[in-house]
Every structure is written in C-alpha cells, then in structure tokens.
C-alpha cells in the first residue's frame, strides 16, 4: 500500500492522532500496525512538525509504518482514531507552507475548518534520508524519544 500525497484520493482513511499539543494524521494505509509504546526509539512527529510537545502526560502509541521498504516507528501521543476523509476534506498544502512543513502533504478539514496536518510517510522518509538509505534497525536520533 503506497499512495501519493500529491494525488487527491477519493476517500482516504486517516489515522488521526489528537494530542494535547496538537493533532496530526497519517494515512492509515501506511500504518502496518499499532504497538504499545516501548523502549525502542521512535520518531516524534510533532517535534518534526515544530510543535512543542505538551507536558501533560498522554497515552502514547507507536505507529509502525513500512515505507519504501523501510519501517518507520512514529510516536503518537493522544487519542487515535480512524477517520474517513473525503476528497473535500483534504486540502493540499499551500506552496508557501510546503516549504516550511515538508513532512505535511495535506491539511484535513474537520467541521469545515482546516485543523489536522496529514503527514506524508514518503516525505517523512525523505526527511529521514531517502528510500535508498537503510536506517539501522535501531536508529538512535537525538529527537527520537522513547515512550
């Protein structure tokens, strides 16, 4: 399962994460599984998005994605939910914002208002070093928090 972020699907299933600091989403098709938080390193998407993580303790999960043959483990703080996003609910990211937020592919509308950044797994992979690069099984990054 691979989908282009730039393409405007008919309906897209999004796995939304609503935390205290903010909400973001990732196409559920990209998510292989959801695991409980463990000691394994993972990527804090909110931090990558430039949002400071809230100090409020929240339930955390690890989203396991397989993108271009690579497994990405994303840290998700907050409530997880599977939502169907229609075509009208996904707005492409304006160009100006795309430069400042390269991980985000769309902005999902909720109640008619753009409120959720949809993170593109591919961009995330690019941001992490491209599809050729094979990250070590246990990448240790400075920003990679653990649960």
């Amino acid at each position: 399962m691979s989908a282009s972020a730039e393409a405007r699907p008919q309906a897209t299933a999004l796995l939304t994460i609503r935390g205290a600091s903010g909400a973001w989403a990732v196409p559920s098709s990209a998510v292989s599984s959801i695991e409980p938080c463990s000691d394994a390193p993972c990527i804090d998407v909110l931090t990558r998005l430039g949002i400071t993580a809230s100090a409020v303790p929240e339930a955390a999960r690890v989203l396991v994605l397989h993108v271009a043959g690579r497994e990405l483990r994303l840290l998700a703080r907050g409530a997880l939910a599977l939502n169907e996003a229609g075509p009208d609910s996904l707005l492409p990211l304006p160009r100006a914002l795309a430069l400042s937020a390269p991980l985000v592919s769309h902005v999902a509308l909720v109640d008619g208002k753009p409120s959720i950044f949809v993170v593109s797994p591919e961009r995330l992979l690019l941001a992490l070093g491209g599809p050729s690069s094979v990250p070590p099984p246990f990448e240790t990054l400075p920003e990679a928090p653990s649960c």
Partner: protein, 685 residues
C-alpha cells in the same frame, strides 16, 4: 637589825642586866662588908655572866614555838603552829619573869656561898649575913620579876598581835586563858614594892649588925682604956683591993676585965677565957708585947678583945662578950613593913588597876553590847574621868559611838524611806555611808524612772495585746473559714480526680479505637491498592483491547469494504475498551480518592491518635496533678487546721500576755508607789 624576837629579847634583857649588875654587885659586896676586895666582885661578875647565859637559854627554849612560826612562810602557817606560837607568847612573861627572878636569887645565893667559903680569915662575915643575903635574894627576885615580867609582855605584844590577826583571818581561836589586868598590875606592884623594900631591909639589917659590931668594938676599946686608967688610979691609992673592985665594976657592966701581968691573967675568969681561946691568948701576948694598946674585933667572932698597957708589967684587958645583932625593933619593923607592903601594894595595885581597868571594862562591856545587841541608844555616853590615855580612849570611843548613832539614825531613816539623811564626820565609815546613801538615792531615782517607764511600757503592751488578741481572733476565724474552703477544695479535687479518671478511660479507649481504625484504614488502603492493581490490570487489558481493536480497525480499513463489518466490531471493541478504560479511570479515581481519603483518614486518625495520646497523657498528668492537688489540698487543709490551732493558741497566749501586761502594769504602779515612799533631797527631785 635584830631579826628574831628571841635575839631582840636576849639583847634587851642582857643590856638591862649588865646595866644593873655592877650596882647590885657593888651593893652586895658592901652589904657583905667585903669592901673593895675584888674576889667577891669577880665571882659575882662570873656568876652574872652565867646567869645571863641561863636565862638566855631558857628564853630561847620558851620562844622556840614562836621562832618556828616566824620561820615558816605565811602560807604555811597552820592553825596549830599559830596556836603553839601564841601559847608560848602568852605564858612567856610570867614564866620568864619568875625564872629571871630565880636566876638573880641563884646568882647571889651561890655568890654568897662562895664568898662565905673563902673563910673568916679572908672574908669575916657576921652570923646575920645569911639572913641579910636571904632577904637580899628575895629583894633581887622581886626586883628582877618587877621589870622582867612587864618587859616580856611588851616585847611579845607585837608577835601576839600578829598571831591574833592571823587567827582572826583564818577564823580559828587561840588558846588564851583569861587574864586579869588588875592581877598583873598587882603582881608588878607587889614586886616593885617588895624588891626595893626588901633590899633596904637587908641593907638596914646588915647595917644594924655592923652597928652592933661597931658598938661593941667601941665599948671594948673604951673599956680597956677605962680599965687601964682605973688601974693606974687604984694602985696609987688602994692597992690590990682597988684592982678587984675596979674589975668587979666592969663585971657588973658585963665586961670581962682582967689584968694581964707577966703574961698571966689576974682573974680566974681571965685564965679560963685565955685557956679556952688559945688564939686569943697568943694574939694578946703577941700584941701586948709590942704595943701599948690593941683591939681584936672580928665581926664573925662573938668577943671583942681590947687591951691597954697600964705599965711595964701590967696590961689591962677588956673582953666584951656580946654577939652582933640587929635590933629587934628593926627586925620587927621590917617584918611589919613587909607585911604592910604585901597588903598595901595589892591594895594600891587594885586601886590603880581598877582605875585603869574600870573604864576599859566599861568600854569592853559597851563593845560587847554593840556587838551582841547593837543597841546604841541605851548605851549613852561613857563618862570620862581623866585626861590620860584611858580618858582619850574613852573620848574616842564616845566619838565612835556618836558616829555610829548618826549612822544608825540615818540607817533608820533610810529604812523608813527617808533618803534625806545626812551623816557628818570624816573617815572611811562616814564616807562609805555617804557614798552608799548617794548610790541609794541614784538607785531609787533610777528605779522610780524605770517604774514609770515600766508602767508605760506595760500599758503599751496591754493595748498592743488587746489589738493583737482581736487580730488573732479575726485571724482564727479566717483560718477556720480557709480550712472549710480547703476542705471543699479537697472534695472538688477528689471530684476532678474522679472525672479525670473517666476522661483518662475514655481517652485510652479512644486511643484503642483510633489504633483499630488506623489498622482498618490500613487494611482498606491495602484493599484499595489491590483494587488499583486490579484496575491497572483491567486498564492494561482495556488498553490492549483498544490497541487490538485499533489494529483491528486498521486491518479492517486495509481490507476495504470487506473489512467494514470487522471495522464496526473493532470500533465497538474500541468503544468498549475506551469505556472500560474510562470506567477504570473513574474507578481508579475513586480508588485514588478512597486511598487519599484513607490517607487523610489515617493522617486524621494519627492526629486523633496523637490527640488521644495527648489526651491520655494529659488525663494522666491531670490525674497525677489532681491527686497531688488533692494531697496538697489535704495537707494544706491539715496545715490550715494546725495554723488555726496555733492561731487559737496565739489568741489564748495573747490573752495571757494581756493579763500579764495588766499585772505588770499593776506591779509597776505598785513599784512606783513603793519607790515614792523614798524621800529624796530636793536637789535630787
């Protein structure tokens, strides 16, 4: 210089003895008719020395007790020693006077015997010399006694006074026999009278004898001359017949007369006389052969022979055969005078002694009355008869009596309370009496002032005692009230103690319940923790269910349409898991609240426990304090009761003090009244 009485006495008597001795010896030799012959004088001088030695030895012997007394230190002079010394001093004058007189007798008796022993050729003595010496010895005895006896009294007077003073100081009596002054005067007077008189009697007697001898010598010489003259006359006129007549005439005159012719007496009587006295015959022949006349007249011989030559052949011899003798009238006169002196002297001595002793006796009687009866008024004044020593003594005694009367009158006045008495005169007694009177005045004045002060002080004490009594009574009432209050307080303390005992029980039960509660809350907390653990498991299960449901939903979404039903189930599962999670959260919150409540309860219970413990401690402390307070209160109550008793006693004592003060004031008033009886001099007032 002459330190001992013995030496002083010996020297005194020796000087007097040696002073008198030459005169007596001279008089004695003259009396004996030994003339200037030195033999009797020397003999008597030696005897006098022996006499001095004899009486000196006797005097030393008699005074030896006194000398022992005098040699003994004053502290060691016992009563026995003093009495022995005084006894010898008292008896010495009479004994020594007699002994001394006898030494004179011995001296001249022995001297006479020695002189007599020389023999008639050396010392012819008349036969009457024995009598004369006998009288002379009596004379020297009395003469010696007359001055030895009073002189011994004079010499021992000071020593006897010392013994008397010592005995008076030692409060013991001396063994003195009563003696009479009159008797002593009489003895001395008789001695004084008899001594010279007997001496004169002896002298007169011997002079009578000598006169008798002189008379017969003269008679013999005259008779021989007269016979020679008569024979011359007769021869011329009448021859032998005339001679016989002349001789017969001499015979009639008691004169043996004869004519010695050619050595032969003319008469038979003459022949007998000469043949009877060969010494006379030899003397007559020898003297008649050489001299015209001669006289053989020895006083110790009964005959005095005188011769006178008539012519170449004849010698007229006259022999007076008359022994020497004193005239009988003289002897009788002497005897009479001696008797007269023996009577007269005591009478005179009695009169003299009475004149001396009577005033002294009066003074003695007065002194005795003063000492024994002390009655000065009836004694009166002792009459003064003379102006001699006794008169002066009597005057002085009268002065002393007047002084004593003045003192007595003053003492009577003082006894009656009149201190204004005045005692005149000088001397220790009036001065002391005046000093005593002055001191008495000052003392009475001080007593008077003291009595006033005492009365004032007693009044103050009385008032103070009254106030003190009232205060003590009030204090006693207050004490009784306090005692009652303390009793009530003690009962209250008992109640408080009982109540606190209840509080202590409750606190202890509370503490026990609190402990139980804490234990139960602990158990509850444990259960809550267990529930929490279970809830955690449930929450974990719910979480895992949610995760499972989420993955299910994810898989369902991956499955597309085919997984829609599964998605619904997963969704329901998720909701269920979320509800479970929410419920778990709620329950967890409740459990947390329960736990918090339990903790709070535990804390509160701990506080309660602490409070209960505090309450228990406080209750125990209160119980202890209450018991102490109760005990203290009871002790205080007892003390208060004791104080109340003491205060009650103090009330009684104060009452007694008030009574005593009242009595003291009465006594002080009496003392003041008593002292007011003493009348002081105006200036003292």
């Amino acid at each position: 210089m002459l330190k001992t009485l013995t030496l002083r006495s010996i020297v005194t008597y020796a000087v007097l003895d040696l002073l008198f001795a030459p005169f007596v010896i001279l008089a004695f030799t003259q009396l004996l008719g030994t003339g200037g012959s030195t033999d009797p004088m020397l003999t008597l001088a030696l005897l006098t020395a022996a006499k001095v030695a004899a009486w000196a030895t006797y005097l030393s012997y008699e005074l030896s007790p006194w000398e022992r007394f005098a040699r003994t230190a004053v502290k060691g002079r016992s009563a026995e020693l003093t009495q022995a010394a005084d006894r010898c001093l008292q008896t010495l004058p009479l004994r020594f006077g007699i002994f001394y007189g006898f030494t004179w007798i011995a001296t001249y008796a022995i001297g006479f015997m020695l002189v007599k022993g020389y023999g008639p050729e050396r010392m012819p003595l008349p036969p009457q010399a024995d009598n004369a010496v006998g009288i002379l010895c009596a004379a020297v005895f009395f003469g010696g006694f007359a001055f030895a006896y009073p002189l011994a009294s004079t010499l021992t007077a000071d020593a006897a006074s010392e013994c008397s003073a010592l005995a008076r100081a030692g409060r013991y009596s001396l063994d003195r026999r009563p003696s009479s002054l009159q008797l002593r005067i009489a003895a001395v007077a008789i001695s004084l009278g008899l001594g010279p008189m007997l001496w004169m009697v002896a002298l007169g007697y011997i002079k009578q004898v000598e006169s008798s001898h002189s008379q017969r010598v003269t008679q013999t010489a005259l008779a021989s001359s007269e016979l020679a003259l008569a024979l011359e006359t007769v021869d011329r006129a009448r021859g032998d017949a005339g001679t016989d007549a002349v001789l017969a005439g001499f015979q009639k005159r008691n004169i043996e007369a004869f004519v010695l012719s050619a050595g032969k007496p003319s008469t038979e009587a003459g022949s007998r006389l000469l043949s009877a006295d060969p010494d006379l015959q030899a003397w007559l022949q020898a003297e008649a052969a050489h001299g015209a006349s001669g006289l053989r007249a020895r006083i110790d011989l009964p005959r005095v022979v005188g011769f006178h030559r008539v012519d170449v052949e004849r010698v007229a011899v006259a022999v007076v055969n008359t022994p020497v003798s004193a005239s009988s009238s003289f002897v009788w006169s002497s005897i009479v005078f001696t008797i007269l002196v023996c009577v007269w002297a005591p009478v005179c001595a009695y009169a003299l002694g009475r004149a001396v002793s009577r005033p002294i006796g009066k003074l003695t009687a007065i002194s005795q009355r003063i000492v024994e009866q002390g009655d000065l008024k009836e004694i009166g004044t002792v009459p003064v008869a003379t102006n001699d020593e006794i008169g002066v003594l009597t005057e002085r005694v009268n002065d002393v009596l007047d002084l004593m009367r003045d003192v007595s009158v003053a003492a009577h006045a003082i006894a009656k309370g009149d201190l204004r008495a005045v005692v005149d005169g000088t001397g220790e007694l009036p001065d002391s009496f005046r000093g005593m009177l002055e001191s008495l005045r000052g003392m009475v004045l001080q007593i008077r002032e003291t009595a006033v002060d005492l009365a004032s002080a007693a009044a103050e004490i009385f008032a103070a005692s009254q106030e003190q009594e009232a205060a003590a009574a009030s204090q006693s009432s207050a004490m009784v009230e306090i005692s009652r209050t303390m009793d009530s307080l003690s009962e209250s303390a008992a109640h408080v103690s009982d109540a606190v005992q209840g509080v202590l029980g409750n606190a202890e039960r509370t503490l026990h319940n609190t402990d139980d509660m804490v234990r139960r809350i602990g158990e509850l907390t444990g259960h809550a923790n267990r529930i929490g653990e279970i809830l955690e498991v449930i929450r974990d299960i719910a979480d895992r269910s949610d995760l499972l449901a989420l993955n299910g939903s994810l898989e369902a979404s991956h499955a597309g349409e085919g997984g829609r039903g599964f998605a619904l189930v997963a969704s329901e599962m998720r909701r269920l898991a979320e509800r479970v999670t929410a419920s778990v959260s709620d329950v967890k919150k409740l459990v947390s609240d329960i736990r918090d409540s339990g903790s709070s309860t535990v804390m509160a219970t701990e506080e309660s426990k602490k409070l209960a413990e505090g309450t228990t401690d406080a209750a125990r402390q209160i119980t202890f304090v209450t018991q102490q307070q109760r005990s203290g209160t009871e002790q205080v109550s007892q003390s208060i009761k004791g104080i109340a008793d003491v205060v009650s006693q103090a009330v009684s004592a104060t009452s007694q003090t008030r009574t005593s003060a009242q009595g003291l004031k009465t006594q002080a008033d009496r003392l003041s009244a008593l002292v007011k009886r003493f009348e002081l001099t105006p200036e003292v007032h």
